[in-house]
Symmetry: C2
């Protein structure tokens, strides 16, 4: 792991995807991230897919490189331990409700310069999940085949929980922004990030909200086409489906060369009486262009076509299923993003991801595994709260704390 965040200690009281992801990014950058869970595991501890032995492959990837403390979070005594841990660390990531024992004020009472980042549902306190904010955002009704009738087209949900992941990354950013502010001024901050606001704010930031209001209507259905430029999926003679796009003149001319379509496009321009010399005319006349590109793609084997595209330095990619992607040498096996499998709690070995960032001149190190639940209970209670072995033993015996669930 990179050590840019070495020395930073963060308490994470999390479940599901967004909140654990914020801690994950910090842990992969060298922070000490201590996930504190209820003694039988958080709400996400059994999330699919489970191995035959009952270990969650989702959990062990979202909690990589963290420490785990397991305590009885339904007891006052256990809750007191979590509040005290958060106060001592001074940095908290959570998706527990503001009106819970872990509200900002309760911890800040003991630690006035606390920085807490809390993931919420909607800004007004209503619950939300990735799928529900996505339904509200408008994106699912923009996805799916172009030929579907807009009046009856069903929504298409994303398999990627994009809002969860975006919220997680934004929370990691907001945490560091608030810590920087504290470093400079001594002031703590309570930062609340509603999942719903990440979605609606992104609709706005992308310009799409302004676009719809300016049109006074929804955008036309695009299917797999790129909005406002040339791009779509095509199929080679041997049935390989790929995505290709051109956002600059250089990309466009290379694409035309790779498909050897200069004469056909000139003929199309003459027929249409327009010059296809920019993103907008190419978008407006996309159906004519798509027919030419698919016509040519259908005469070429993928081996040839991909070689032509590569020779022109073009931006293209073959669609993979996720199982194909997971075994792809270029994407995974030979990609320095991935390191050797650490000793995962599941016992299953597979490529493990490092931080998305790579930093020349610094040591990336090997990826670390997720902890067993409670693996660091003893270490953290001793080091952070100064509890003796005897005191910890007593907590364990009374069911307030739990040690590793390894066996």
């Amino acid at each position: 792991m990179y050590q840019l965040l070495h020395g930073l200690s963060i308490i994470e009281a999390s479940s599901f995807v967004a909140s654990p992801t914020a801690g994950l990014y910090c842990a992969q950058m060298g922070a000490e991230v201590i996930r504190v869970d209820h003694k039988t595991g958080g709400l996400d501890y059994d999330r699919s897919l489970l191995t035959a032995e009952g270990r969650s492959l989702a959990w062990e990837n979202l909690n990589r490189a963290k420490k785990s403390v397991a305590i009885d979070l339904r007891s006052d005594e256990g809750r007191e331990l979590l509040v005290e841990l958060a106060a001592r660390a001074g940095n908290l990531i959570t998706n527990l409700p503001e009106r819970s024992f872990l509200g900002h004020a309760a911890v800040a009472e003991r630690r006035p310069d606390l920085v807490s980042v809390r993931i919420m549902g909607w800004h007004d306190g209503r619950q939300a999940m990735d799928f529900t904010v996505n339904a509200a955002s408008g994106y699912p009704l923009m996805c799916g085949p172009e030929e579907w009738d807009p009046a009856t087209a069903p929504p298409v949900n994303q398999a990627l929980p994009a809002w969860d992941f975006l919220t997680g990354a934004y929370c990691a950013f907001a945490l560091l922004a608030a810590i920087r502010h504290r470093d400079l001024t001594g002031e703590g901050s309570e930062v609340r990030v509603p999942l719903g606001d990440v979605a609606m704010g992104t609709v706005a930031n992308s310009g799409s909200m302004a676009e719809m209001l300016y049109r006074g209507a929804d955008r036309e259905r695009l299917g797999n086409s790129v909005w406002g430029a040339f791009g779509r999926d095509f199929v080679s003679r041997d049935g390989v489906r790929f995505m290709v796009a051109a956002l600059t003149e250089k990309q466009w001319s290379g694409l035309v060369a790779a498909f050897a379509l200069a004469d056909d496009i000139a003929a199309l321009e003459a027929e249409l009486g327009v010059r296809l010399d920019g993103d907008l005319p190419r978008f407006d006349h996309r159906h004519g262009l798509f027919a030419l590109f698919q016509g040519r793609a259908g005469t070429l084997a993928w081996h040839d076509l991909s070689a032509r595209l590569a020779a022109e330095g073009r931006t293209f990619e073959r669609y993979r299923t996720m199982y194909e992607a997971a075994r792809d040498p270029q994407l995974v096996t030979n990609n320095p993003l991935f390191g050797p499998s650490p000793a995962n709690p599941s016992g299953f070995a597979y490529p493990a991801a490092r931080s998305f960032a790579n930093i020349p001149g610094r040591t990336a190190g090997d990826p670390r595994p997720a902890p067993y639940l409670g693996e660091h209970t003893e270490e953290v209670l001793a080091e952070r709260l100064g509890l003796t072995q005897a005191a910890i033993g007593d907590l364990v015996q009374r069911g307030v704390a739990r040690l590793s669930d390894r066996d």
Copy 2:
């Protein structure tokens, strides 16, 4: 704007979505973000949708609250100005290639503790865009109706450029992590974030890569169903389509109560000979459950059904088109995420987004507009590089620098 990053100055040499987004998040948190563009605008300056007057609604939302410097980036003299601005600021966000005049080493020669964050395509230097890394990731072949034959199902691209936005947020995080490291050690960092690694790393972090490798196959098609739990879209008697899901026992029991399905589910359990008392059995027997829920939804008007769901505190959301979402009181008009329209370059007035985070006790302030291209050329060259009015006038006259394109 919140001022958590007050005092931080960042040079952004950007185009498209990911790189401008990283700067946007910093600007919305109070950093001074100076976007430096070629004098006629970057590659993204004319991105759709354009207003009748030719202003890009995408650009003016992705560059909100930034300053703009416009110089001739094709000339050595203009490039020298950008390199010197980046060296003076000490913080750089860019998606220009490493092998360009703005490579890390070229700037760090003048500023050894430079922090640069560079967005790349793939880790190996190949170009990539949101749509092409998405094709590689496996997600597009997991989206779309459940009934499509897996062998022939076409890919469904996301209308949301999720990888761009996630990369932008991650880069804002990585920038602050590297700045924190410099604050503590004095060392600069060169941080490279490949768009393709954000996608493949997310496939891994979500647990899906491990899942596919463990299965030795792809996941079954799910359509709009939630993976590993109960959830899907349903349609009310009056044709309102909505998303609903239950990830916890409390959510499930509330959902059953709202739909008044306790007896029907007990009958289904008896028929199946299983207890539907957890995420996994409910997922495994989802088709039977979906039939019950859709049956009930089809007998209820949305007004009634949504009131029942709200009364039970359940997580649900009506699908909106994006045009509907953009005018929704709960999502936009009455949401404190959005502030009054500032004086946008387009002249078009619409709700403007603040930072995704809200911070009780601090002043959010009104959202600020994007700059006109070159609006801050004079101010920045004078303040940052100490150029005199005469020297700046000379640069403008010779076409090396350009002032505001307002008129």
